[in-house]
Each structure stands twice: as structure tokens, then as C-alpha cells.
């Protein structure tokens, strides 16, 4: 099979993971900017991180023949400090000129706070002013329903944003319809405990349609599985799906969304 890994935090992963992904058929990996597991002390830390995402990590991936793309932002987990967020957001336009940048992400909400919403609005504005794709993180667990609705309502109300150029990630059974009905793309994240299993992700495809959905591992420094995407493809095969359906979900769908950015190319 061939597949795209549309959401993976590879700076937290090992070269063994790159090797396993390429061996499993991965043709490109996309890395959203993320929280480091601790709060960075200044915008200088983000400058270095953006250099890592747009320079060093693509070179590391290239050693395994894997094209690497990135998304830029300050993650909602660090959005309570609006002054810091302003300084980081001011860095982004310069980095948007780099060859592997796909857009603004993963922005969104974490605990659904006022400052998180303020910073989300600022990111959406940068995306609109620079005609960028948007990748949105939705909150975890008990905060997801409320946060997803707040995010969808905010972006939908901005007439500058084409919903077809926005992917709302980490949807589950209680949020998928709200996202899809608003015209956005949706992402299904395959986590052992806190998001979707493969079986549930396939249920969501069956219940809400497969035209504007992708699956990702969102592998990072926490409990996550870098090969979750090909494992989900295997689950689809167990359920009786043929190679064409699997190719649509795991390759053609992400390529269709990501190709709206001229920087995205895949062999």
C-alpha cells in the first residue's frame, strides 16, 4: 500500500520510526507545530523550533527518502500568554516562504479559554492574509464537544476562509457531523486510548462519509503509534474493503487536501 502520514510530530521520534514508516509505504509526512511537553520561555525558542521544522527535520526525513512538510503556529496549550503568542505569530510570515510549509497549524483550543480563543483568531487572521491552509487541533476528552463547536463557529463566520481549505482534526463520533456539515475536512486520530481506535475510525467513515476525511497517527513524545495509519488500513482490509477504497482514504484524500498548497508535491 501507499499512504500519507498527514499529522506526525517527527522531531519527537527516532530514525527507527522513519525506517518503519517508509517500509510500510509512507510517501510523505506532515508535521504540525506542537507543544514541546513544557512551556517555552520566549519567542526565541519558537524561532529555533520553526527552523527545526523547516530545515533540519526535512533533511533528517530525506535520509530515508521521505518528503517532510510542516505547519507553523504556537500551539493552543501555550496560548494563555497572549503577549508571547503575539511575538511568535509575528515570526510566522517569514517562515511561510520556506519550501516545505503547508500552512497554519495545529491551531485551535485546548481548555476552551478566552485567551486561547483570542490567539486562535489571530492565527486565522494570519492564514487569511497569507492565503494559507489551516490545520486545527480540537480539545481532548471532556473538552472536545464544546471546543469543536466554538472552533467551527469561529472559522465559519470568517468570510475570507474557504472551509475546503481547513481541516479540523481529532474528530470523534460526537463531533464529526458538526465539522462535516460545515464543509470542513475532518481528521481521525488513531490513539490507543484517548482518541479513536482503528475500528471506531472506520465506523466514522461509514457513518459520515469518506470524501473529506483522513486518518493520522499524531505520533509524538507521548503514548502513540507511528504505524497507526497502516494498521488502520489493515483493519479496513479485514472488514472487506478493497485496495481502491484503502488508497482513497490513506493516499488520495490527503493528497487532494494538501495539494491545495503549491508546496505539497509527492511522487
Amino acid at each position: 500500500m501507499r499512504y500519507i502520514e498527514p499529522h506526525a510530530h517527527m522531531v519527537s521520534r527516532t530514525t527507527d520510526d522513519y525506517m518503519a514508516m517508509v517500509t510500510a509505504g509512507c510517501k510523505a509526512v506532515c508535521e504540525p507545530a506542537f507543544w514541546a511537553g513544557f512551556d517555552r520561555s520566549s519567542a526565541h525558542g519558537f524561532y529555533d523550533y520553526f527552523c527545526q521544522l523547516t530545515d533540519y527535520e526535512p533533511k533528517r526525513a530525506a535520509k530515508f527518502g521521505l518528503p517532510h512538510f510542516s505547519w507553523l503556529c504556537i500551539n493552543p496549550k501555550e496560548s494563555e500568554d497572549v503577549k508571547l503568542a503575539d511575538e511568535v505569530i509575528a515570526l510566522i510570515p517569514e517562515f511561510l516562504k520556506r519550501d516545505n510549509v503547508l500552512g497554519i497549524g495545529e491551531i485551535g483550543l485546548n481548555k476552551n479559554s478566552r485567551n486561547e480563543m483570542t490567539v486562535l483568531e489571530k492565527h486565522v487572521n494570519v492564514a487569511a492574509e497569507n492565503d494559507q491552509l489551516i490545520l486545527v487541533h480540537t480539545p481532548h476528552l471532556e473538552d472536545k464537544r464544546k471546543g469543536t463547536q466554538l472552533i467551527v463557529d469561529l472559522i465559519k463566520s470568517d468570510s475570507r476562509i474557504d472551509p475546503g481549505k481547513v481541516l479540523i482534526d481529532h474528530v470523534e463520533e460526537h463531533t464529526a457531523k458538526y465539522v462535516m456539515d460545515a464543509g470542513f475536512w475532518g481528521g481521525l486520530t488513531l490513539y490507543p486510548e484517548s482518541k479513536c481506535t482503528s475500528a471506531r475510525a472506520i465506523d466514522i467513515l461509514e457513518n459520515f462519509g469518506s470524501e473529506r476525511l483522513w486518518m493520522n497517527s499524531a505520533c509524538d513524545w507521548g503514548v502513540s503509534v507511528p504505524l497507526a495509519v497502516p494498521y488502520a488500513a489493515h483493519e479496513m482490509r479485514r472488514r472487506g474493503y478493497d485496495d481502491d477504497a484503502i488508497d482513497q482514504v490513506f493516499y488520495r484524500n490527503p493528497v487532494k487536501f494538501l495539494s491545495q498548497c503549491p508546496n505539497f508535491t509527492v511522487r
Binding site: 494563555e80 481548555k111 476552551n112 480539545p139 471532556e142 463520533e173 460526537h174
Partner: protein, 89 residues
């Protein structure tokens, strides 16, 4: 989206679901044995079990464990989620 060759989903998933069901039973026994039944997460868990009698069970369970309010909170006091809404009556 539907598979070209529909499989018997009970055949595919019964043993996995059975194992998870027994794990839930054992978890509840363990919590009750150790006296942590007043934990708001355990109460929310027991409430969510009632949703297994509904239609769209996965969605109903998720909603049962969700914050039902609509307003932004003043500020975030933590970064982590705990899996149940602490203010549920």
C-alpha cells in the same frame, strides 16, 4: 462508505469486545473494593454506562462524558483533560 464484501462484525469483533467488557467489570470491582466510588470520574463512568441502552451508543457515551456548557472559561488552570466533566451534578 461500505465494504464491497461485508464481513460478519460479530465474528470480527466479539472476542475483543468481550475482553473489554470483562475489563470494565473488573475495573468497577477494583474501584468499589478499594473504596474510590466517590471519585467524580467514576460517577461519570457509571452514568455513561446507562447510554449503552440508547441508539448511537458511542456518541451518547462521549456526550455523557463531555462539558455541556457553551461559554469560554476565563482562563486555563491546567493543560490536561481528565476524561469527565468535574462539574457534572
Amino acid at each position: 462508505m461500505k465494504p464491497k464484501e461485508k464481513q460478519n462484525t460479530v465474528e470480527l469483533y466479539y472476542m475483543e469486545a468481550r475482553a473489554k467488557l470483562i475489563d470494565i467489570a473488573a475495573f468497577m470491582d477494583r474501584v468499589e473494593r478499594d473504596g474510590f466510588t466517590d471519585d467524580f470520574r467514576y460517577k461519570a463512568f457509571k452514568d455513561a454506562l446507562r447510554e449503552l441502552d440508547s441508539e448511537n451508543r458511542a456518541q451518547a457515551v462521549l456526550l455523557s462524558l463531555s462539558d455541556p456548557t457553551e461559554e469560554l472559561i476565563p482562563f486555563a488552570t491546567t493543560k490536561a483533560a481528565c476524561g469527565a466533566w468535574p462539574d457534572k451534578p
